[in-house]
Subunit: 502 residues, 2 copies
């Protein structure tokens, strides 16, 4: 029986949870150094929280040190989901111990938003936080981004999630039910690129005139497509320094691109990049959407709202293009940085950016959302479905990157999208049941599920999630989590047959 | 070559268009009798418009009388789509000739809304219209409903549209590429039920105290799940006559049920009805949604807005349940009658009814929207997809009414839903580009695409479509048409390969 499921191997699950806590604790200790360097007065509290997490992690690893390496898919789902949850729980300690964020709900929201690279915040005054805590906040994004790269390249394809098998030629093929808990070589190479990009962005931002602390924090936020900023005004703070915004745009674009393609670029295999259908569509979309956004900003937006003045002067034309491109990249890559309040431009652009929250970046990137490759497969399948309607007996497979995509994968992608829309609808209903108004509920559900950050209405780009009722904050964390883990990974744990021991 | 496509048989297409115009003209002549009976002063203009349509129809049939009966699918799509368009064009004449509706755009909107059984109106003062014209307006719904029954039972399954093959055991099976232009016996039997229900509702409404003219018009509107009323306040006009509203509810429920099941009922094959999975889900949904709606109306709605006063008195509890059930039925069956302004109740109920616009009635009914059976298949497939994720090698078909549904049909349904959502998104974007605000654009697209009628914002239940820009009115007619004809039927005509003669 290839599908007989044995008892769950809880030991290895807890062992790996312990390992994750050590990683978590290590990064908290790193943040405490930032506290001491900038003498923000919370260095000791940071160390205490780091030590607590390290102690719990060590205890967990020791208690479960005799574990069997035998793992199947079911352990995989549990490790991924509980891994994200346990990291988010442990990650609250720096906020709680330093008193930087009042209330556990708020602290958990901020940490989950960090690890899921959403970037939604409950902070009213970001700039008043101690530097060590701000750094830790950005680091949660960055660790989350690293986690997503491993997931996308090494884990989710094995778990058979929503067409993740399509990712890239480099990704390991499905090798049956057995899971290898080691991180693949590919993932390691991609991590190096991830680190390299982060360093490069930091250096460039510093050169362009950003403060070093802001530069490193924004780099951590950009590469993870997170969106946490160290400024209350987000990247709009640098509206008079276009170069800073252009640098962030370049790295948002790269962070929303499959990291495997960046790897090809460093290997100078450029033909592989330009033949990649997802990358082509990603590029075309960013270009076309920017043209639309910039045209609307330039010709119809309220100049005072967007910071763009009429009429046709080079500077203002540049401003329209820059803000259009910036917000298109920020939403499509699900980073969620803000250069201007897009809900104040025109009613069309509000709808436009709301719609973009359902797009998502490339597969194999740190971006969230539905993802370009899934849309591409759905469009291709949709066109073919018209042909199938006309010629029911013809066998017409969907082709992607010159290969026929297996039917089950197409099926899985269609089911993923429907589940995504269903999750969105349930998300909206629960939000509005909890008292959110129409725009806020729609925007909030789309933004948290897509891991974007800013939304509409009371959760617009210049606002934050602080004013939500407590229950709505918890609901947001759930939507962020399922969105980040490609729905199936989390939701499968809610099915009865997952737990049936057969 | 089974798929070689010969030249399109335009003669039979035009011949059938002529036949449809004769039907159209005949019903206009019938409406002119109403004009004379009620002496509304436009009898002659009604006769002129009827004669014009009859003349054009006769000419078209004579010119194409030598036609070959050879037809394939392509002719089928053209006949259905152009049939609806030509009916809507000819149907404007009574409005234009009598001057009851100013402007061709408005007249075409009202006729398309009639034939697609949407029920959206551009009329600010319905009650001021001549009775003959009002009757004609209701008749367009009723003819549209008849058309939908033939489509659903006899034509769309052959054209392979969105899982319409699943409909009912009685529906003829796909018989290859050849189309038989005769109306099947099944469709004829269902028409008799349709006529019978219409007569029954008219009699019951008259007995319950409604004016005879209003009774027949509302019956024509109910059975077709249209929604045109002869009163400016729609069915809210009878808020002090609950019996009238309950009668309308019963027939809305029946109109949203597969007519094949009504046929079984008359044959006393009740077990076939209660074993039908779509009917069971339809019944459960109506019940559960009504409980939710009524609870929100009773406990949290603004009493002045819903006409429901607190606290717990029998009469008011009844009122909450009645309005809840009425609006749930009106939206789910896509009839669109209004008993109260649901956008004034609570923010949750606004979102709730907006979401219901994506549900749709049963297959084989006159209701529009996505349809219950498609949701059922999607839910079943979604659940199975989780199992497939866990056991990739197991073959797990979707079962419906105790039969395994063929993969291509499930595929077709998933593709249909995605195309529906895509059409919705494009619909919203175009609306907001034309200047509609957020709520209005979202509601308008959902309502016209689902053939509901009332929407949100400026197009709310107590408002109408008169204030839309001209371009938005045309865009609405397009959305109504593609929604009514199950998307593929119309959109396939926009693909290049449809017209390629190979």
């Amino acid at each position: 029986m290839p599908h007989s499921i044995s008892k769950l191997n809880y030991r290895i699950i807890f062992h790996l949870m312990g390992l994750l806590l050590l990683v978590n604790g290590g990064f908290i200790m790193l943040s405490s150094i930032v506290s001491f360097v900038y003498d923000d007065g919370v260095g000791l509290q940071m160390i205490y929280s780091g030590l607590t997490v390290l102690a719990v992690g060590t205890a967990l690893m020791l208690l479960t040190r005799k574990y069997s390496k035998e793992m199947q898919k079911r352990e995989g789902y549990l490790i991924v989901t509980f891994g994200w949850i346990i990291m988010s729980l442990a990650g609250t300690l720096p906020y709680v111990f330093t008193g930087a964020i009042p209330g556990f709900t708020n602290a958990f929201f901020e940490t989950m938003s960090g690890y899921t690279t959403t970037g939604a915040s409950i902070l009213n005054d970001i700039e008043s936080l101690p530097k060590g805590v701000l750094f830790w906040r950005s680091v949660t994004h960055w660790i989350g981004g690293m986690g997503i790269i491993v997931l996308a390249i090494a884990i989710l394809p094995l778990l058979g999630i929503g067409g993740m098998q399509l990712f890239a030629a480099e990704a390991p093929g499905p090798g049956g039910d057995k899971l290898h808990p080691r991180i693949t070589d590919t993932a390691k190479r991609l991590w190096i690129i991830y680190v390299g990009y982060t360093v490069a962005e930091t250096v460039l931002l510093k050169i362009a005139g950003m403060d070093f602390f802001d530069a490193i924090n924004h780099s951590l936020s950009t590469l993870s497509t997170g969106g946490f900023s160290t400024k209350n005004a987000s990247v709009a703070f640098w509206n008079d320094r276009p170069m800073i915004q252009y640098i962030i745009m370049v790295f948002m674009f790269l962070a929303g691109t499959n990291f495997v393609l960046s790897y090809f670029a460093f290997k100078t295999k450029f033909s592989k990049i330009f033949r990649d259908e997802e990358f082509k569509l990603y590029g075309i979309l960013i270009f076309a959407l920017t043209v639309v956004a910039a045209a609307f900003i330039y010709f119809s937006a309220d100049p005072s709202a967007s910071g763009v003045d009429h009429p046709m002067v080079w500077g203002e034309f540049e401003s329209a293009v820059r803000h259009g491109l910036f917000q298109v990249l920020a939403i499509v890559t699900t980073t969620g940085f803000v250069s201007a309040d897009y809900t104040l431009w025109t009613p069309f652009l509000t709808i436009f950016f709301f719609g973009l929250m359902f797009l998502g970046g490339s597969s194999g990137s740190t971006a969230g959302g539905v993802k370009i490759v899934r849309h591409l497969i759905m469009i291709k399948n949709g066109i073919i479905e018209f042909r199938r309607t006309l010629h029911p007996n013809a066998i017409l497979p969907v082709r992607y990157n010159n290969r026929a995509v297996q039917q089950p994968i197409v099926f899985n992608i269609l089911a993923f999208f429907i589940l995504y829309m269903l999750s969105f609808i349930v998300g909206v209903l629960v939000f509005s049941w909890l008292g959110l108004d129409f725009d806020t509920a729609l925007g909030g559900a789309a933004s948290t599920l897509g891991n974007v950050g800013p939304a509409l209405g009371d959760l617009g780009p210049t606002s934050n999630y602080a004013g939500l009722p407590t229950a709505a904050k918890w609901w947001s964390t759930f939507l962020m989590l399922i969105g980040r883990l490609e729905l199936f990974t989390v939701l499968i744990l809610l099915t009865p047959f997952f737990w049936r021991n057969r």
